[in-house]
């Protein structure tokens, strides 16, 4: 793999950029692999990368029905944070955050991880209790965070409306300075390039249509281009996990829901952090290109259509105009939807299954992007050792039988 650097850029410029090598090969599938990763999104590519890099398993194929990083990796609002409430979730997401902090160098691909901080706003007394509780838990877990006042919020995001007279005044927020955003495509491409360099076959435009089993163990996958053998099959197909599970005769405690997002036209820098508000359902940051990147809430109904309902977008933009009255004159350039796996406890499933050699990594809900490196890291470990990585142990599918849920959204507070 030729190293990227300012120097390589200069060198290639002199030769009119005619000599750049391919970022990855376009191999024809082998007949047989040690591990097949189904799904060429960020999580799948990261899984393949760490399997090869850390566990020395290089006879791997990543099989993607469309193009690499074309699913939720390409559709999310790129928010990265680790200030989760429960120990299990917080530790998993913080592993991910630590990996983010060195990822551009690790991959020699600039993923533009921008640690501009994340504000989670509180609008009522219960919000503030929950924020206090979460920040205290984060602090004692070794995760950065503090509770900040409206005045401090206004310093961090000057255009935000901290008036006490607004319908849902901002009473305070949690502030995680290490949080931020990254360039979503770059994450997929960086991991793909890295994995390819380690010998991983990236097979695009190939759809897995079946999971072949023999005596309760995986032997390979049927694809739109024929059967490919494998001892282990790792499914990382957010949005379609249920469909994959059905291929192996399994069911998952997961429902696929539309999640929508939108961007404004590019504007000059006006928001140097990430602002999130659960109470009014709006998440916003500004990309390096200048777009205001806005995330909406999950639609209420099941849907694989990568489309949601317009009223969800309306509600989100109302929230944004409440938080940032000046943005009312900015214009929406593009909106789109993705399909997220939602779990009853808003936490992922990283798990072996009753089928020997079949593994699932799904259920990330709206939180998948930020977890990409950590998810790949612990899933690779789980697959390599056929045993849950310590940080993944709490996220097995069995928790839905025992009741040991990690209730991240229940923790957001219910009736009052």
């Amino acid at each position: 793999m030729k190293k990227y650097s300012a120097f390589s850029l200069l060198k290639n410029a002199l030769s009119y950029h005619e000599n750049w090598q391919k970022v990855w090969r376009s191999p024809t599938p082998k007949q047989d692999y040690n591990v097949i990763v189904v799904g060429g999104g960020g999580h799948g590519l990261a899984t393949a990368y760490y399997l090869a890099k850390i566990h020395g398993i290089t006879n791997i194929a990543v099989i993607e029905k469309g193009y690499l990083g074309g699913g939720n990796t390409a559709r999310n609002t790129t928010i990265i944070r680790s200030n989760y409430l429960w120990d299990e979730a917080a530790q998993l997401y913080d592993l991910s955050l630590k990996l983010w902090e060195g990822l551009s160098q690790e991959l020699n691909y600039n993923v533009m991880f921008s640690q501009r901080g994340v504000l989670n706003l509180g609008h009522n007394l219960q919000d503030m209790r929950d924020i206090e509780r979460r920040v205290n838990a984060n602090r004692l877990n070794g995760i950065d965070g503090e509770v900040v006042t409206p005045q401090r919020i206004a310093e961090i995001a000057p255009l935000i409306n901290i008036s006490r007279n607004s319908r849902y005044p901002i009473l305070g927020a949690s502030w995680q300075p290490r949080g931020g955003t990254a360039r979503h495509d770059a994450v997929a491409w960086g991991y793909a390039r890295g994995a390819d360099a380690l010998g991983v076959d990236l097979i695009q435009q190939t759809e897995v249509t079946g999971i072949r089993r023999k005596d309760g163990a995986v032997v390979g996958v049927e694809t739109s281009n024929g059967f490919i053998g494998a001892r282990k099959v790792a499914c990382v197909t957010a949005g379609n996990s249920g469909v994959l599970a059905a291929m192996a005769g399994l069911r998952l405690p997961v429902e696929s829901r539309p999640l929508q997002a939108l961007v404004s036209e590019p504007v000059k820098p006006c928001l140097d952090t990430v602002v999130m508000s659960n109470a009014v359902h709006g998440y916003i940051s500004q990309s390096d290109k200048g777009d205001l990147v806005i995330g909406a809430g999950v639609d209420s109904y099941n849907g694989y259509g990568q489309r949601g309902s317009f009223n969800v977008v309306e509600h989100t933009i109302q929230a944004i105009c409440e938080l940032f009255p000046a943005f009312s004159r900015v214009r929406m350039n593009r909106q789109w939807g993705g399909v997220v796996d939602t779990c009853p406890d808003a936490c992922p499933i990283i798990s072996k299954t009753s089928v020997q050699g079949l593994y699932f990594n799904c259920g990330w809900g709206t939180g998948g992007f930020k977890a990409t490196p950590g998810s790949g890291y612990v899933f690779a470990d789980t697959v390599a050792n056929d045993h849950p990585h310590p940080l993944a142990a709490a996220f097995t599918v069995e928790r839905f039988d025992t009741g040991a849920l990690i209730d991240e959204h229940g923790a957001a507070g219910v009736a009052h």
Partner: protein, 1000 residues
């Protein structure tokens, strides 16, 4: 008279400024036409290389002329000059270029463009690691177009929910006749067009339609439509989104043509349209040709040049070179000739163009150079020269000597691309059609059909007949008319056109990688070489190319560039365009104001404020309010100079020592009637109601099926088959839906009816040792003695002359009566009680004091002391769970799961700080060992914490792992400021542990 204004075109003068310089336009101008009339060449700088850019198009497709309109709170970023109607005093400026668009220092960067190929930022700025944030800071400063306002939007917006039979998107020739055909059937029709005038391309046409000049024909048709009461006509209205089940959104600009800030009502209006049938008549965009330095000001679309000449009377230059691959664009040569200015030559990529219009042009003595390509434009801030050379038939190579043509205007046309955007929003995949060298709309996924140019039908005759049948067809399918158009044919005068050549990237003498930049997407500086580079680097799918090069991600959404980009990609991959894929568009068709999408649901109308009948009294008393769901509840009632703590202390002591009064009206109330009520609610609550007698109340907890506490409250038996259920304030709607769910879908055999009566009752709770005395003053027909009216009883009676229902239940632990009267009497009952209680110093208290008092008693608040992961056992409330109930109530089974029965679950306990004055922060985490290193082993957290005036020390409720077995143990709460507060685990009941006071 401005230099480029055609003498014959006159109108009222309009003054405006651009980049601080004063200019004059005339009525009917767009900012773009006025700037061109004034000979303004450079209107902006490109995003990446800061190259000077001029006006290229005349509508929504414009990639370059992006301006900042107005200033201050009313400023609007990123408007397209081609879409801004000129008004007196308009101020606009370029969004990029420093110190000015004519001399941009960033332009120097442009000189290093080769160092910034697509994706260069992925390849650098990585080392040293810590510098990225600095790099990024400068990258961001260079990015972005216009600037957002910094003050609140002074304008207002609103929405209309529309329902119609036929929605026609676009009021060009096809749309207008479609609307007419639908209108005459009586169907409800809405026709919307983004321009100020209906007519589309005909507004700039010199053709005859139905025997009269096109603009006149349009006027008559518009007049005809206006006469229909069943037609809604929406000019300045863009259909920007097409969603499921034929839901479409239209942005109507109501005042933008009058000024940056509205002086007469809502600035913009969002129409949310549910249409039975849709006719898409959105027209087409002319496609530029990709040649070297095709971005120099003075290069324009052929149709744009014609539009400026014919519609706005503006000739944007003097010496025109026309470069085309088709007959259609020859019209521009004729139009230009009409201005009396010079047509240097027409460059036609085809070997032997032979259409009627070609002959017409040649006949005027204009040189037609066939089989040639315009391979490069030259000039700095304005075109000076065009380089022309013979090219091979395939259009892939320069085959002969280069000829130089002096000119200051280049009009180009690579054919037309149907505006398939809206049909594409529905998920229909556009299909490539070699015959028209363009994508046609894909097969319909909704109740829609395309007509005219947006369907790839480019001749006027065809557009009119397609529009007519589309309108009649849509009407028929929505239940009107017989499907046959009244005017299937309309006589028009037009040239018969010969086939065009499929040419996208014009060859240069140098290979693409070395030729001067051949731009595909002007706004984002995506060039042909950039696309080829992306392919060279291994990106193969269209989506990868788009994302890697940013092709199509501009505010013009690639209306001009996408098809050329696809073609260049296909060529680089050695595929056909059809094989390479399709082009997908997403809403919004054109950028749409956030404020309009938000509508009126902002500021105080963002969410309803719900008031109780006594609300105004609380306001008059200067209460501070707390948001509880949508309700405004009194939080506390500060008196002169009181702090919150002082007010809460006073209110609490009043209740403990004499008398307090609380407005409890917001509690959810559900009336339940039917023979099976007792059985039903016994299945819903954890405890049993089978033996609850009329006149009695019982406290109950409900679980979700997962065994976790979901809501709680008192339920009263009003009579045989008749109960009243109280819920939490926030839970009322959810609980009602929950009851209906089980009755309707699971146990329809149980005969029960539910009705919400939350709003019907005002609930005034008098609480404290003097509660009975004050009740005795206002209620004579209830025996209030403890024997006759015991704790957890209720009685009907007359209070303050009003029929009332009185409950003897208590959330404070004191003797309490909850007086319920129909809300019309709410304030009367409240003020009567206040007056009657005066001698007992009756004290109104708010939610904060209520919380303190109930915490002193260890009563939980669902949602504060529980968080969706708490069982009754965790809350030390096993007593409320009916172990021996015959029916396995909702959630019961989950209480036996291995995790819910495990020891060491978090359990509700009291915490008493060792320093009695110290109040634990709510949300503080609990640890057993304060000295341990981070990460610490957290054992629970503080859910409620207050200073108790009546006890004289702080109290807290917390959930602690295995807490019920840890009474007496000291735990620690490490705080952010480094302190660690020590507290002892005690019973969660701090006050009157035997519960005697509520029974007196």
């Amino acid at each position: 008279m401005s230099q480029n204004r055609v003498a014959s075109h006159t109108g009222a003068a309009i003054d405006f400024t651009f980049n601080g310089k004063a200019y004059q336009g005339i009525a009917g101008d767009t900012l773009a036409s006025a700037l061109l009339a004034n000979g303004v060449d450079v209107v902006g700088r490109s995003f990446k290389y800061a190259r000077p850019r001029g006006i290229f198009g005349h509508g929504a497709e414009e990639p370059n002329a992006i301006v900042q309109l107005g200033s201050g709170a009313g400023t609007v970023p990123n408007l397209k000059a081609t879409q801004i109607e000129l008004y007196q005093g308009l101020q606009a400026s370029s969004v990029n270029g420093w110190p000015s668009v004519n001399f941009d220092l960033m332009g120097l960067i442009g000189a290093f463009g080769r160092l910034m190929p697509p994706g260069f930022y992925y390849k650098t700025f990585m080392y040293p690691k810590k510098l990225w944030m600095t790099y990024e800071h400068f990258i961001r400063k260079a990015a972005g177009l216009g600037a957002t306002p910094v003050e609140a939007d002074p304008d207002s917006y609103d929405k209309l929910n529309q329902h119609c039979d036929v929605l026609v998107a676009g009021a060009g020739p096809a749309g207008l006749v479609a609307a007419r055909e639908a209108a005459r059937t009586g169907a409800r029709v809405i026709i919307a067009d983004e321009q100020s005038q209906f007519g589309g391309s005909l507004l700039a046409s010199k053709q005859q339609v139905d025997g009269i000049a096109a603009p006149l024909w349009v006027a008559s048709l518009v007049a005809e439509l206006m006469a229909y009461s069943n037609v809604q006509m929406l000019p300045r209205s863009t259909v920007f989104g097409y969603y499921d089940h034929n839901f479409l959104t239209i942005l109507e600009r109501r005042t933008d043509h009058l000024g940056a800030v509205s002086t007469c009502g809502t600035r913009q209006r969002l129409h949310r349209v549910r249409a039975a049938q849709v006719v898409l008549a959105t027209g087409a965009f002319e496609r530029p040709l990709v040649f070297a330095h095709n971005d120099i000001p003075g290069v324009m679309l052929a149709s744009s040049v014609s539009t400026y000449v014919n519609r706005y009377g503006v000739a944007p230059g003097n010496k025109l070179v026309l470069f085309t691959t088709n007959d259609n664009a020859y019209q521009t040569a004729l139009d230009w000739q009409g201005t009396g200015r010079e047509v240097v030559a027409v460059i036609d990529s085809r070997r032997n163009p032979c259409g009627e219009i070609v002959a017409a042009v040649a006949a005027m003595g204009i040189e037609v150079i066939a089989g040639h390509g315009l391979i490069e434009a030259q000039g700095g801030k304005r075109v000076k020269r065009a380089l022309v050379a013979p090219i091979n038939e395939a259009g892939t190579q320069v085959t002969g000597a280069v000829r130089r043509l002096d000119c200051d205007l280049i009009a180009c046309s690579g054919g037309w691309s149907p505006a398939v955007h809206l049909s594409s929003h529905t998920g229909a995949k556009p299909q490539w059609d070699e015959n028209i060298v363009a994508f046609r709309p894909g097969n319909s996924k909704q109740q829609e059909r395309s007509a005219g140019a947006c369907r790839g039908t480019f001749d006027l005759q065809g557009c009119l007949s397609e529009g007519a049948s589309a309108g009649a067809d849509a009407a028929l399918l929505s239940g009107y008319g017989d499907g046959s158009p009244q005017f299937p044919q309309i006589a028009v005068e037009e040239y018969i056109e010969e086939p065009q050549q499929a040419l996208f990237l014009v060859p240069h003498t140098k290979p693409t990688s070395r030729a001067p930049s051949q731009f595909v997407d002007f706004q984002l500086d995506v060039s042909a070489s950039g696309i080829e580079l992306a392919v060279r680097e291994g990106f193969e799918s269209v989506e990868h190319i788009k994302r890697y090069t940013a092709l199509g991600f501009g505010t013009d959404q690639g209306k001009l560039g996408n098809i050329n980009g696809m073609a260049i990609l296909a060529n680089a991959l050695d595929q056909t365009i059809a094989e390479t894929g399709t082009t997908i568009f997403r809403p919004a068709y054109t950028p749409t104001t956030f404020g309009a999408i938000a509508g009126r649901d902002v500021n105080q109308l963002f969410d309803p404020e719900r008031y109780t009948a006594v609300h105004r009294w609380h306001v008059e008393q200067g209460a501070k309010f707390e948001d509880v769901g949508q309700w405004k509840r009194p939080w506390y009632f500060p008196q002169q100079g009181e702090t919150m703590q002082q007010a809460v202390d006073r209110e609490g002591l009043a209740v403990r020592n004499s008398l307090g009064i609380l407005d409890a009206s917001t509690l959810g109330k559900i009336d339940i009637q039917g023979p099976d009520v007792a059985e039903f609610i016994t299945r819903i609550y954890t405890n049993s109601y089978l033996k609850l007698a009329p006149g009695k109340c019982r406290y109950g907890v409900m679980l979700k099926e997962d065994g976790m506490i979901f809501d709680d409250g008192v339920c009263a038996c009003l009579g045989d088959n008749h109960y009243l259920m109280f819920t939490t304030t926030g839970g009322a709607a959810d609980v009602l839906a929950w009851l209906e769910l089980w009755q309707q879908t699971e146990w329809p055999e149980l005969q029960v009816y539910f009705t919400s009566v939350t709003d019907h009752w005002t609930t005034a709770t008098v609480s404290g040792p003097n509660a009975r005395r004050v009740m005795a003053k206002v209620c004579t027909d209830i025996d209030l003695s403890n024997e006759a009216f015991a704790f957890m009883d209720w009685r009907d009676g007359t209070v303050a002359g009003v029929k009332a229902r009185v409950f003897r239940i208590s959330f404070t632990g004191e003797l309490s009566y909850e007086v319920n009267v129909p809300a019309h009497y709410g304030r009367h009952i409240w003020e009567t009680l206040i007056a009657a209680g005066e001698e007992f110093n009756i004290t109104p208290y708010g939610t904060e004091t209520m919380h303190v008092l109930r915490a002193e008693k260890g009563f939980i608040i669902v949602g504060q002391d529980t968080d969706g992961s708490m069982t009754p056992a965790d809350m030390n409330m096993d007593w409320v769970v009916g172990k021996n109930k015959a029916f396995s109530f909702i959630g019961k089974r989950s209480l036996q799961r291995s995790d819910t029965v495990r020891a060491n679950r978090k359990q509700l306990v009291g915490l008493k700080t060792l320093n009695a004055k110290e109040v634990l922060p709510e949300g503080a985490q609990v640890v057993f060992d304060a000295e341990q290193k981070i990460p610490m082993a957290m054992q629970g957290h503080v859910t409620s914490s207050y200073f108790s005036a009546s006890l004289g020390h702080s109290i807290a409720l917390a959930v602690v792992k295995g807490g019920h077995d840890r009474l007496g143990q000291v735990v620690y709460c490490p705080l952010a400021d480094g302190r660690s507060i020590a507290a002892e685990i005690v019973s969660s009941v701090f006050y009157d542990p035997k519960g005697e006071r509520q029974h007196v």
